[in-house]
């Protein structure tokens, strides 16, 4: 098993942020149909081990590539750019984030949960639009300037967490 193969190579897809997710899903199923441990139940121990390693590797690759944020982080790692735990961020962006967080809190404190859900829908749409914009920005910078792309990833991380917080609030409001 060639562990030097990168995740894109495993699926025989071009190394790029823009990725055909349906194609990825199809190839994922094709690969698992070949290597999954269910296909090696009566094989030798060595083959079972190989099958387990491959199936595990393919699952990691699929999990990493199918969502935009881990895909972006992985693409940077391919250029030896590793994400910092406490990055320096543009103060303007941080201010904006604080405001968005406060807005989300306000929505959560509304008495009327119907109205809260309605404002939450609008909030989520806004966050999704920002996320889409950042993804375009990442794709534009990645080839030429990994440093700029790295900065975009930090912003994406913030937006992603905000989106999760919005989802949690929705679960709370809908009483999941």
């Amino acid at each position: 098993m060639d562990f030097n193969q990168n995740y894109f190579e495993i699926f025989q897809l071009p190394v790029s942020f823009d990725l055909d997710v349906d194609q990825l899903a199809l190839r994922y199923r094709q690969l698992q149909s070949t290597v999954h441990p269910d296909k090696f139940v009566s094989a030798t121990d060595h083959e079972k081990r190989l099958s387990l390693q491959w199936a595990t590797q393919i699952n990691s690759a699929y999990d990493t590539l199918r969502a935009p944020l881990p895909r972006a982080i992985y693409l940077l790692a391919l250029k030896d750019v590793n994400i910092e735990d406490n990055p320096q961020l543009d103060p303007m962006f941080l201010m904006e984030q604080i405001e968005l967080r406060e807005h989300l809190e306000d929505i959560g404190e509304q008495e009327d949960s119907e109205a809260a859900l309605k404002s939450l829908d609008a909030f989520k749409a806004d966050v999704d639009a920002r996320m889409a914009g950042l993804q375009l920005e990442f794709a534009a910078h990645y080839d030429a300037d990994a440093g700029k792309a790295e900065q975009v990833v930090y912003k994406l991380q913030f937006i992603n967490k905000l989106r999760q917080a919005a989802d949690h609030l929705e679960e709370k409001l809908l009483d999941y």
Binding site: I10, R27, R29, V41, E47, L52, Y176
Partner: protein
């Protein structure tokens, strides 16, 4: 103890002979076994023609009784008659207290933390009780399929955590079963329906059994079953409906003293009857008289629905969450599994929530065993041409205890398995040489709200200043959903030794003791068994390598390598005809080693060709 088939020395085993495979549904209330006979997958009946084996085990002076006879004795001998043992699998005493009053046994805790039940035959663990049920089913399977079983698939609730899965595997080990796979019950049900009616798209499997509730969403695509979300409650089921009815009876009777075990059993079985009657009728009369408890009256379906409403709601909430986890808003089909889905209020609630009429044309009590048998038949190698594949997920997040009793998630729930994740730790004191790691499973933030799976002690960390050591702990979850952990210090490469102390499991010594106790002590039997197993193993390796050489030898290996492997085959076949099991095992290992490179080459080639091969097939299908 199940013996595998023996081939006489010198008599070649036909590699294409059909193998006997079975699916086992080890249920809370009833258990079943299914197999393929004459091309039809069906549940197998006992001598009296009944398919459902009540999951009840009674210990007596004269031996162990399993099934209906045990169940009929439950009221007169409640302490020695173990029912709903599945709820105790992989659980500690504290968990069981939370499960309520219907568990009325005398418990004793073992070192491993797993409970034991005091019976007239001594203390027994839930694993041993389950093994008795398995033994009974396997015997039925061997009789129906005319021979020892080559392999089985055992189903577990999707929501079972690692300790519960491990306990199930241990039970099978006590019976000497070759477990091909632990399969999630909802996935098994989807397989049973999927192959029958060629469903495509997202299907929801709503599985309400006696003691557990599971909801799974699967995406079906050209024979590939991809589990996209699971959820549920491992302590919600039809038993809870019964308990609600029993509580209602007590309230109606105005009975205030504490119920004795016999009264409780009687009330619960009365409650069960009422529930079943009300599935067909609008009202039912009831008369109970047991010791000083007396009540007669009438229960209507409306009242019953009120009694169950919040329990059913709880299950619907889990459905909503699973749908959300999967990122779906609707499903193409809903499949009903489990006897409790016969309750009209349950069906109505499910139909209302998903907005479609659920499928129930396969008996909801049998559908899981049938799906498991289909999978077993494929895994054992009887249907090589079949393209079916199941891709399952981890049902509950795995995490580690960090400072302050908080959980650090390492692998999230609904992650596709097999999966491996590494997590790095460091020391907090100069020269620290050991570290305690606590693995938990669950979605909550506090360790105390999650299930404790195991505690690992890492020893032999090389002395370094605080924070300098980098200890990488690797979590690997296999295709059965079972976890294993290994660790190494990254800067020096020193492997830290790990001691596993399963929180609610049996340790290796306990298993060995039970195995010893369960097999006949006659030396000759053990020797014969060892020899048989060694020969079967050798036969398997020879078959596999022969067919691999036939398919891929010429294109992947040099003539010299082929010759070397062929000589190895001849040597092993000769050794396997002898009667020294150790020599056979060594031969198997040697040939395995010699063919490792070939195996790796084959796997790499298969991966390279995965897309081309299937694309050709897809094209053929289109034309």
């Amino acid at each position: 103890m199940a013996l595998l088939q023996i081939t006489e020395p010198g008599q070649a085993q036909d590699p294409h002979q059909r193998k006997r495979a079975a699916g086992i549904d080890l249920g809370t209330t009833n258990s079943l076994i299914a197999g393929v006979r004459g091309g039809v997958t069906e549940t197998l009946a006992d001598h009296d023609g009944s398919h459902l084996l009540p999951s009840v085990v009674r210990y007596t002076d004269a031996g162990v009784v399993v099934g209906l006879d045990a169940m009929n004795a439950a009221q007169e001998d409640p302490l020695n008659t173990i029912i709903s043992v599945k709820r105790m699998m992989g659980r500690g005493i504290e968990d069981l207290k939370g499960l309520g009053a219907q568990l009325l046994y005398e418990f004793a805790e073992t070192d491993g933390g797993m409970v034991r039940l005091q019976t007239i035959a001594g203390a027994v663990s839930p694993v041993e009780v389950s093994a008795e049920i398995l033994k009974n089913l396997v015997q039925r399977g061997s009789e129906s399929l005319a021979g020892e079983l080559d392999g089985v698939v055992i189903t577990v609730p999707a929501y079972f955590d690692d300790a519960q899965r491990q306990a199930t595997r241990d039970a099978a080990r006590l019976v000497g079963l070759n477990v091909l796979r632990l399969l999630n019950e909802p996935t098994a049900a989807a397989v049973a329906y999927g192959l029958d009616s060629a469903l495509e798209g997202v299907i929801a499997v709503y599985d309400l059994g006696g003691g557990t509730f599971d909801i799974s969403l699967l995406r079906l695509n050209k024979g590939v079953f991809e589990v996209v979300a699971t959820g549920g409650d491992s302590a919600l089921g039809g038993d809870d409906f019964d308990r609600r009815i029993a509580e209602w009876l007590v309230a109606q009777a105005g009975y205030e003293a504490e119920l004795n075990p016999k009264q409780l059993r009687t009330l619960l079985s009365q409650a069960r009857e009422l529930k079943e009657t009300l599935s067909d009728q609008e009202r039912a009369t009831v008369q109970v008289a047991v010791d000083d408890f007396k009540f007669s009256g009438e229960l209507t379906r409306d009242t019953l629905n009120t009694l169950m409403a919040d329990l059913i709601d709880q299950s619907i909430k889990a459905c909503r969450r699973a749908l959300r986890d999967a990122g779906e808003t609707s499903v193409a089909n809903v499949v009903l599994v489990g006897g409790s889905t016969r309750v009209p209020a349950v069906r109505d609630a499910v139909a209302a929530f998903f907005g479609i009429t659920p499928l129930s044309d396969i008996d909801p009590d049998r559908v899981v065993a049938i799906g498991a048998a289909i999978q077993a038949n494929i895994l054992v190698g009887n249907k090589l041409e079949d393209e079916m594949l199941l891709l399952d997920v981890l049902p509950l997040s795995l995490g580690l205890e960090t400072v302050g009793g908080l959980v650090e998630k390492v692998i999230g729930r609904n992650t596709a398995i097999p999966v491996a994740r590494a997590q790095e730790f460091t020391t907090y004191k100069d020269g620290q040489s050991a570290m305690l790691i606590h693995v938990v499973q669950g979605e909550r933030e506090l360790v105390s709200d999650c299930r404790s799976l195991a505690r690992f002690e890492l020893r032999g960390i090389p002395p370094m200043v605080a924070g300098a050591a980098r200890i990488e702990v690797l979590f690997q979850v296999d295709a059965d959903g079972l976890l294993s952990v290994s660790a190494a210090e990254a800067t020096t490469g020193v492997k830290a030794s790990i001691e596993v102390l399963p929180s609610y499991g049996l340790n290796e010594n306990e298993i060995t003791d039970m195995l010893k106790a369960s097999i006949d002590h006659a030396r000759a039997d053990i020797d014969l068994r060892t020899l048989t197993e060694a020969r079967v193993d050798a036969g398997r390796v020879v078959d596999a390598l022969e067919s691999a050489l036939a398919v891929d030898g010429a294109r992947l290996l040099s003539a010299a390598d082929i010759k070397m492997l062929q000589q190895g085959l001849v040597t092993l076949q000769a050794v396997a005809e002898g009667s020294d099991p150790q020599a056979i095992n060594e031969g198997v290992e040697m040939l395995g080693k010699a063919s490792e490179d070939f195996a790796a080459l084959r796997m790499d080639a298969a991966v390279r060709e995965a897309f081309t091969g299937q694309q050709v097939k897809a094209l053929e299908e289109d034309f």
